[in-house]
């Protein structure tokens, strides 16, 4: 799961989940790069406040079911799976599914 965290909470070993670019959209540090002390120092020097990292937090089965139930409750209006609401619901449940722990 991707997560934005303040630069002060970044620890070496975390994986960069979104490339760092400069104001000309040039990639300075690519997505997937494992972060080192040096890199974190450089980000601090560049005055970057927060970065997007790959969090290894896995969702438990209980969390998954609770979130799924919340989504179901929001979609009470009548619609079919081809409609806009139908597509949003399928996309949301798909997103949730992809972050479920494998256990």
């Amino acid at each position: 799961m991707k997560e934005n965290i303040p630069i002060t909470d970044v620890k070496p070993g975390m994986l960069l989940a979104k490339a760092i670019t400069n104001d000309k959209d040039m990639t300075l540090c690519a997505e997937g790069t494992p972060l080192t002390e040096d890199l974190i120092d450089r980000f601090l020097q560049m005055e970057i406040d927060s970065i997007c990292i790959e969090s290894n937090k896995e969702m438990s089965q209980e969390e998954y079911l609770a979130l799924k139930e919340k989504i179901e409750k929001r979609f009470v209006a009548s619609y079919n799976s081809n409609s806009l609401l139908g597509k949003i619901k399928i996309a949301l449940l798909g997103h949730l599914e992809s972050h479920k722990g494998s256990s």
Partner: protein
């Protein structure tokens, strides 16, 4: 301990209060001056930026806003002229207004701030996905789409809390409950205020019609993008008032914003990390 106080809503006096609001929040005189300057074709962007930079408070506010993590510009923007070139005048004016208005919001209405900022992010993302021009204007329309609610929270907080509770009890969208009680809703209030502030139609129409996307005569695409962003954020649990159910969207939305399942999934993947990280920010940090 805080006790829930039951407020009996006096519809007539509440409505009167809200009707008198339309001339309450005023824009800084400065903005009026800038609007006049911009109407003069001889004013260059650089000259305008220079004039704007003379107001230190405003300058620091603008720079803080455009450089904040969630506003999303890669790299630093160090001058007002740069911000102006990147955002365009209309988007910048909207941003200044929003920072003035959101400042007065009580911490209790924090979900409304979170909702507004995520709808802004989502509007920009949808506009980008559809390769529309001027995506920053979509972002600002998203940021201001519920400005009517902000005003209700600031100016009539007790009465508005009762309206919210009533909507929750009836399990119906908040704007419908507002309509039943007031005869108009927060989108209408947003429209009055934005007209009062002389924002351009391309911003006032999406703000004023985000719950009635088929009603206006023009700017259907802009309305549809903001309404779609609102639905998307609410479907993720980012509504300003807990989990009120989603109503069936007007068919015009799908016609104007024909997103595929794959595109919607991509939008969700993009919005979720920002959505989560914004939860950790207090409203004060943007202002």
């Amino acid at each position: 301990m805080k006790m829930e106080k039951e407020v009996i809503l006096d519809k007539i006096s509440f409505r009167k209060k809200v009707e008198q609001l339309s001339n309450l929040p005023t824009l800084p005189n400065l903005l009026d001056k800038f609007t006049r300057m911009l109407k003069d074709p001889k004013t260059s962007m650089a000259a305008f930026g220079k004039e704007l930079s003379k107001d230190q408070m405003l300058t620091s506010k603008i720079l803080k806003l455009v450089n904040s993590a969630f506003y999303g510009f890669p790299g630093r923007i160090s001058t007002v002229t740069n911000a102006l070139v990147l955002l365009g005048y209309d988007a910048l004016k909207g941003l200044i207004i929003s920072s003035n208005i959101f400042e007065n919001l009580s911490p209790e209405a924090y979900p409304l701030w979170h909702h507004s900022v995520t709808v802004s992010l989502a509007s920009r993302a949808i506009a980008r996905e559809l390769s529309l021009p001027d995506i920053e204007e979509f972002a600002v329309a998203g940021l201001l789409h519920d400005i009517g609610k902000v005003i209700l929270h600031v100016e009539a907080s007790e009465e508005y809390r009762t309206v919210i509770n009533q909507a929750k009890k009836a399990k119906q969208p908040i704007w419908q409950t507002e309509g039943e009680i007031l005869g108009f809703d927060h989108a209408n209030i947003g429209l009055w205020i934005c007209e009062e502030w002389k924002l351009p139609k391309k911003l006032t129409i999406p703000i004023g019609y985000h719950h009635m996307p088929a009603a206006p005569k023009e700017y259907h695409m802009r309305v549809a993008v903001v309404t779609m962003a609102d639905i998307l954020v609410r479907s993720m649990g980012g509504g300003a008032e807990d989990d009120l159910p989603l109503e069936t969207p007007d068919p015009i939305i799908e016609k104007q914003v024909p997103l595929t399942l794959k595109q919607i999934r991509k939008l969700i993947e993009g919005i979720v990390p920002e959505f989560e990280s914004l939860k950790r920010l207090a409203p004060k940090e943007i202002n």
